[in-house]
Amino acid sequence: MKKIKKSDTGHEELFCNTAPSGKYSKAVRTKRVYVDEKWCLGCRLCEYHCAHANSSEKDMVRALKDRTIRPRIHIESDEHISFAVSCRHCDEPICVKSCIAGAISKLNGIVRIDKNKCVGCLTCVLVCPYAAIAPSEDGPMQKCELCTQSRTGTPACVMGCPNQAILFEEVTG
């Protein structure tokens, strides 16, 4: 597989001007989902694979037929451009720091939501600069947890992308 070094992408700059406490934060090698907009076809298969992976049904038809899907990755597109948007699992996750219920945490590089604690106040929606958190069908908020909790165990959007526009890569973060 491809080896990718993390660049100073300024991921944090959008929401948190606290100087990155680089030398104090623990460097964790983490795999993250990256999007290569150049190759996104806007087919939206990632959304469907995500919704399916996070359902309890083995068969996508049973899982998704006649339903409005609520994927944790979503495509923005216009006539010419399309790209997928999902949680960046930020080094300094503002959602974790802002959650009024203490329901969001980051463990092993993955930002997760404890649905049991979530009260649905939408503070996370207010603060997340990546628009990566949205309500689930049954109320509490949901977000991409890199399929650690899903049926597939490895990101379904990445596996389902027909054009390698979504990559699951290890970075030093």
Binding site: I4, S7, T18, S21, E37, E76, G102
Partner: protein, 418 residues
Amino acid sequence: MKYVIIGNSTAAVGCIEGIRSVDNKGEIAVISSEQHHTYSRPLISYLLQGKTDLERMKYRDNNFYEKNACTLLLSQTATKINSSVRSVQLSEGEAVPYDRLLIATGSVPLIPPTPGQGTVKKQFTFLSLDDADALKKATGPDSRVLIIGAGLIGLKCAEGLHGRVKSIKVVDMADRILPSILDPEGSTLVQRHLEKEGILFYLSDTVSEYSGNTAALKSGVEIGFDVLVTAVGVRPNVSLAQNAGIEIRRGILTDSTGRTNLDGIYAAGDCCESHDISSDENRVLALLPNAYLQGECAGVNMAGGEKVFDNAIPMNAIGFWGLHIQSAGTYTGDVYRENTKQEYKLLYTKDGVLKGFIRIGKELSATGIYTALIRNRTPLDSIDFELICKKPQFMAFAAEKRREMFGITPGEEEGYLL
């Protein structure tokens, strides 16, 4: 290194996590006048409502203190800070020495002096778990509740009590509800929504006198009630700091690292003043995210790390019966306004940046994109502002920016191994 934290809420937790990101060894003592494991203060209305319970509203896991090696001193009130010998005097007589001290004493409710207040048997404030507990015990299906204050606390209290009491009436001296986060039109919109749920409002009015279970309003209206909740506001709890000689303005004054003017003493949370970058003014931002960020920043610096927190802004996400209100920043400058069936939206721009916004609607998504624009003071000419006004979206950003955010920098691909 001995760390002492006065307070056990969000800022304190932020501080503990901040310290532990740098220092795994130092001792941490947490002094709390309450008797509870750290809990999510804003969740007390949800507790009333039954949407959460004591276990679930714990702000951190049960093993939080243990995991972070904290000594927890519950039901202990700090009475004095002796900065010359670096110790904190507790009400129980013991003095706790510190090398670094965090003051995170939060805020206390304001109770305006009103004639006859003493005659009200069941009266409460609504700031702590104990408040909520007491209020829960004091109310029943026949209770008529009078809430003084149509701000965030008063109205969340109203929502919390809704359904478990007979009636809820809200009095506020302002001419509209939620004046701190909404514009007049927005206030009206939300007020109508609350009224549909049976909440009665008495605005531009104040209680001139209580007499037992009756409140006489200045307007002449008399309201009978069984339970009174006073929620006109809070003020920073600064007396301890003040007595220690720490500089106080609207709240405790700190620099961007969380330091007060006294060596080794830091402060964070609702007891402090913040610099709101959207208005370029110092204000008390009694908001949970703000408390955490301040506490964490102070914690890192207390432990010898380096961190600054210098982009505080006001922001709020609140909802009542499915109607969500999200706002941030300062309402100043040019306004983009949208009022559709789905959403009521105001965006305020000034000096080429987004200063503030208000969104009201049943389904609000991606608001963080707006919030980030304010926080980062993103020049609006670097994005497609017209597009982003319609809806917060990344399409409005330059492709390069999107690549920074979501992608992999070209040239870093080292090639594939087969």
